[in-house]
Amino acid sequence: MVDLLFYVAALVAVLTAVGVVLARNPVVSVVSLLSCFGSLAVIYLLAGFQFLAAIQILVYGGAIMVLFLFVVMLLNLGGLNPEDEDRDDPLFHDRRRSAGGLAVAVALGSASLIGILRGARHLAEPTNGLVPPEEGFDALPALAEAMFTRYSLPFEAASVLLLATTVGVMVLAKRQRSIPPAGEERS
């Protein structure tokens, strides 16, 4: 029963995560991301982290996604079609920049992968399997300890990834085609 629930939640999480990237309509992306967060909360709940699940819904589902939705609606991004607008964008054609971006992506991806594999190996040991926590087990200190000692590399990688995303959003949102020569007025 728990296994089945886990597979359903995991499948929904992956499908909606793909949906976030593929959806043409930004509002649909936001809704998929919301369902993705919801299924992640279910997975946390199945692992026995009630607190984390509630925080996931409260902070990501309740607060951050509402903010996203507001921004998407108020900026009215509905008509944006990336295919014909970004084709001339130098951001996607500069070889050196693309290579640099690719290198950073590969580095971050492999760091995350190492973290996941280490976590999987850790879980595969018979003493560390996915067992429901004992009665009265306080999950929070254990979680904090694991996050800042054993898994600090993926944790830091995730934070760098978030920073890179923020910078990337800034660059994409400004949509500056090319830097105009000095003296010339910006369009």
Partner: protein
């Protein structure tokens, strides 16, 4: 297996009662408003119009389903569900009474589940109902709906802050996020141990903020008929509209139950500490019923605010007061 059966029965009974209560509340709303305005109200279907909600339900089912031109059909359908489901989910952690012993079978406490993080669950899931409003407003592809949805979500987010801060005061006093523990801390047989007497300011802010949180009069800017036709559900018809309606009334009932639990001792009976479960249930229903009535009473008594007044009240009055209340509560707890 037996445990599973008991939980299943409890879930069915509590949800049946919730939906029944929501239906009856729509009738009560019309009856009370009629009495306050010297009218009769619905009195054709069944004795005292008691079957009116049923007739309304049948009418909703047979109405035509409309989806406006240029609207996103999936999100348009999703919005009423997102409005009704969170409101109904939150009732799962409300403790209605103590240990139930029915025909010699021990059925456990009368609530669907007693989560350790009950309050957090309630706040988290309750916060999701804002999506129903905002997505419904956006997906309708109509300016009135969009304005109504934006207003409603801005209002819900603003008042949620004060609401959570006030809940935090009660949680700090009890030292637990479990709603049953919060009730038991007040269940001493002495009504003076109810939180309403130790936290009077918090109680007043909480009750007013629940009105704003559920988009009820005098804060019902989501609808605001003279300006916005009917706000975010202007374009909805048939059962989709009924779902919004159901969500609104369920949210009101849950808020009434939550106010009872946090401030009026939940199911505790005055001067009778170990009351049997049906007396406790009666006590809970009487208190929650009063708050449900308060929602109706205020709606037909007070005029509507202006939107800037509402925001002023939320951010410049309630938020500082709630913060100060939390500060004083924390100081008193750490000194005592």
């Amino acid at each position: 297996m037996n445990d599973f059966l008991i939980i299943l029965i409890k879930t069915c009974v509590i949800y049946g009662c919730l939906i029944g209560a929501a239906a009856l509340m729509t009738l009560a709303e019309r009856k009370f408003s009629a009495w306050m305005q010297l009218r009769y109200g619905p009195n054709r279907v069944g004795p005292w119009g008691l079957l009116q909600p049923l007739a309304d339900g049948v009418k909703f089912i047979f109405k035509e389903e409309l989806c406006p031109d240029g609207a996103n059909p999936w999100i348009f359908r999703l919005a009423p569900i997102l409005s009704a489901v969170p409101a109904m989910l939150t009732v799962a952690v409300i403790p209605f009474a103590g240990d139930v012993n029915l025909f010699g079978v021990d059925c456990g406490n009368l609530s669907i589940t007693d989560l350790d993080i009950g309050v957090l669950f309630l706040v988290a899931i309750g916060g999701l109902s804002v999506y129903g409003v905002i997505l419904g407003g956006w997906a309708s592809n109509s300016k009135y709906s969009l304005l109504g949805g934006l207003r409603a979500s801005a209002q819900m987010i603003s008042y949620e802050l004060s609401l959570i801060l006030i809940i935090l005061c009660v949680v700090a006093m009890t030292g637990s996020l479990d709603l049953r523990a919060i009730t038991e801390a007040q269940n001493t047989g002495n009504p003076l141990s109810w939180n309403v007497f130790s936290q009077p300011l918090a109680f007043v802010i909480f009750v007013i903020a629940t009105f704003a949180e559920t988009n009820r009069h005098p804060f019902d800017f989501a609808e605001c008929e003279p300006e916005l036709v009917a706000g975010f559900h202007t374009e909805y018809s048939s059962m989709k509209f009924a779902l919004f309606f159901l969500g609104e009334y369920c949210a009101m009932i849950v808020m009434a139950c939550l106010t009872t639990t946090l401030f009026l001792g939940g199911y505790s009976v005055p001067f009778w500490e170990d009351a049997p479960w049906f007396v406790e249930l009666g006590s809970f229903c009487a208190k929650a019923g009063f708050f449900a009535f308060l929602f109706i009473w205020v709606r037909w008594t007070l005029p509507r605010f202006r939107f800037d007044q509402l925001m002023h009240l939320g951010w410049k009055v309630f938020l500082p007061l709630a913060l100060a209340n939390l500060l004083v509560t924390g100081a008193v707890i750490s000194l005592a």
